[in-house]
């Protein structure tokens, strides 16, 4: 069971965690690997914490949900509280640096905890719309489930119809991917 990479992405409804989870697993599948993705969902139409459970492996994957993740990314204070149950000594826990006052809420036993300023970069450097793509960049750098080129291809596949109308969006999304990856690379260096 150990060869499987397990990722939990969590944010507020609308932050786009389900979209990037979908893009990542599809890219892994296109690359010939086994992937499994299940969104959590409840009776609510919108709002609430949204969690995406992703697994990537070279073999068929077992149960769709898991107890502990290799990577948890939490993008709101509620998401931090919701996902710390998936953290153990082998988990990299990433949260957005804009979340304050969480000192007592963060998981205690993570392998490593990183605060990355994704929200701020999205707002001030790039565009709020690519916030989730920054997160995707961070996730693939942290787990290496797919390479940067594969990631770009996957984003192109999903958003190509928008890029066709406005080619600048392509550049913006690719920058977001690279910026997200760099955030993690520099923090882990």
């Amino acid at each position: 069971m150990d060869a499987t990479v397990k990722i939990a992405l969590a944010g507020e409804g609308g932050q786009g965690v389900q979209s990037v989870a979908g893009i990542m697993v599809e890219a892994a599948n296109d690359g010939g690997r086994e992937a499994l993705y299940i969104p959590n969902f409840g009776v609510e139409q919108r709002g609430g914490v949204s969690v995406a459970f992703c697994q990537i492996s070279d073999q068929k994957i077992g149960s769709p949900k898991f107890k502990k993740a290799d990577l948890v990314i939490a993008l709101s204070d509620r998401a931090v509280r919701r996902t710390r149950q998936y953290v153990d000594k082998d988990t990299l826990f990433i949260y957005d640096a804009s979340l304050k006052g969480l000192e007592n809420e963060l998981p205690q036993d993570a392998k490593k905890i990183l605060a990355i300023p994704a929200l701020e970069i999205a707002k001030n450097e790039l565009h709020p719309r690519v916030f989730n793509i920054i997160i995707m960049g961070a996730a693939i750098e942290a787990t290496k489930i797919i390479g940067m080129e594969q990631a770009k291809k996957a984003v192109e596949k999903r958003l190509g119809y928008k890029f066709a109308q406005n080619p600048k969006l392509r550049e913006l999304n690719f920058q977001a991917l690279e910026r997200g990856a760099r955030l993690v690379k520099e923090s882990l260096a």
Binding site: M1, V25, N29, A35, I38, V43, K60, K65
Partner: protein, 379 residues
């Protein structure tokens, strides 16, 4: 318009609901009747998107009682008809499925289990096992396939149509909310391309020729005047059901020959059980795995053989002992001790099964270790 929905075979990455819709198309189903309920909605959504391209039909009814009966009606008219539901919808459909048992109508019903009882959660459970196997005021004379992957959903949805029409018992594909909503890879194919011919369908009424002269009259009857009449009919059904059992039962087993501990699970929980079995083997524990694929009829003989050599059975399910009851009935009289890992309405992972068995071996679960099958229920 393409001639066939799927040419040859191809690898796809999709949700289970989508896989079911493709399977129904590949099986050349004519019509789906349905009423929306989470988590099976997308079966309807995909079907309504795909079906018109291949001259297939869809009817949304006013509720599940109606969806069940219109499915029966579609089948009676000779159409390869199906429906899909979950939870409270499955409860309502039992009325029609009970009639399908009585009139021997080969309906196909795909169930994506959600939490229960009542509205409960829209997410997942294995709490519709008993309902799907034995719902209605009858004897549970139906065929129930419990799937554990998208490949299963595709394969067994196609198979369900054939088995239903071959044996004329209502047939069920029992999935769950996880399978409905998750995405994973599978191969979809044209059954004919694999040498699988679809069972022919035909109208139950209005066949050619003079009834009673050229052919047997189609006498569809679900009301009987005397106890004796009913008893004779049901006895004949029971006999036919018992006869089909060895032809229809399916199961999956791994490492059971020398196993001391057998992990027993069905549906998606079987994936956790298989993963746990392999992990335990790698740690030197003599673990084995058994998964009934058909819950009705149940692979009782096969399980009984294993019960004679194993030292312990562990039944794991996302329900409070619904598979357990099937297991207990199947191996009644054997003395293998039985442990349970029951989580009604919640998923089960391979890791937690490994932990559970670790603690069992280390004697940390006191009092349960010596429990004998006949003395202990699931509660």
């Amino acid at each position: 318009m393409a001639d066939k929905p799927i040419e040859g075979e191809k690898r796809v990455f999709m949700t289970g609901n989508e896989a079911v819709a493709w399977a129904a198309l590949a099986a050349d189903a004519d019509i789906m009747y349905g009423y929306p309920i989470t988590p099976q909605n997308e079966i309807m959504h995909y079907w309504t998107r795909l079906a018109p391209r291949y001259e297939k039909r869809f009817l949304q009814t006013e509720d599940e009682i109606s969806a069940g009966f219109t499915t029966c009606g579609g089948v009676l008219s000779g159409k390869r008809a199906f429906t899909a539901t979950a939870g409270p919808g499955n409860v309502l459909m039992q009325e029609a499925m009970s009639m399908a048992e009585m009139l021997r109508i080969p309906t196909v019903l795909v169930v994506q289990q959600r939490g229960g009882p009542s509205t409960a959660t829209v997410i997942y459970s294995q709490q519709e096992t008993t309902l799907t196997c034995f719902g209605g005021n009858g004897e549970g004379m139906r065929i129930v396939y419990s799937t554990s992957s998208h490949q299963d959903l595709f394969d067994y949805t196609i198979k369900a149509f054939n088995i239903a029409w071959k044996y004329r018992f209502p047939t069920f594909v029992l999935g769950d909310g996880y399978q409905a909503k998750m995405r994973e890879s599978l191969y979809i194919y044209d059954p004919e391309g694999k040498g699988m011919a679809m069972e022919k369908t035909m109208p139950f009424l209005g066949q050619e020729g003079m009834p009673g002269v050229d052919r047997e009259p189609a006498h569809l009857r679900n009301t009987y005047n005397t106890e004796e009449e009913l008893y004779a009919v049901i006895s004949k059904y029971v006999e036919e059901y018992n006869k089909l059992t060895p032809e229809v039962v399916e199961y999956q087993a791994e490492d059971t020959d020398d196993a001391e501990i057998i992990l027993l699970a069905h549906g998606i929980v079987a994936r956790a059980a298989l993963a746990a079995t392999r992990t335990l083997r790698s740690k030197g524990v003599k673990a084995g795995y058994f998964r009934p694929i058909t819950l009705r009829p149940f692979p009782a003989e096969q399980l009984r053989q294993i019960a004679r050599t194993a030292q312990k059975f562990v039944v794991a399910e996302s329900a409070q002992g619904q598979l357990l009851k099937l297991v207990q009935e199947a191996i009644y009289g054997e003395t293998v001790p039985l442990e349970t890992y029951l989580k009604p309405g919640q998923g089960i992972t391979g890791e937690e099964l490994v932990d559970f068995i670790d603690s069992m071996i280390n004697g940390k679960i006191k009092g349960k270790l010596n429990s004998k099958i006949n003395g202990k229920g699931g509660f």
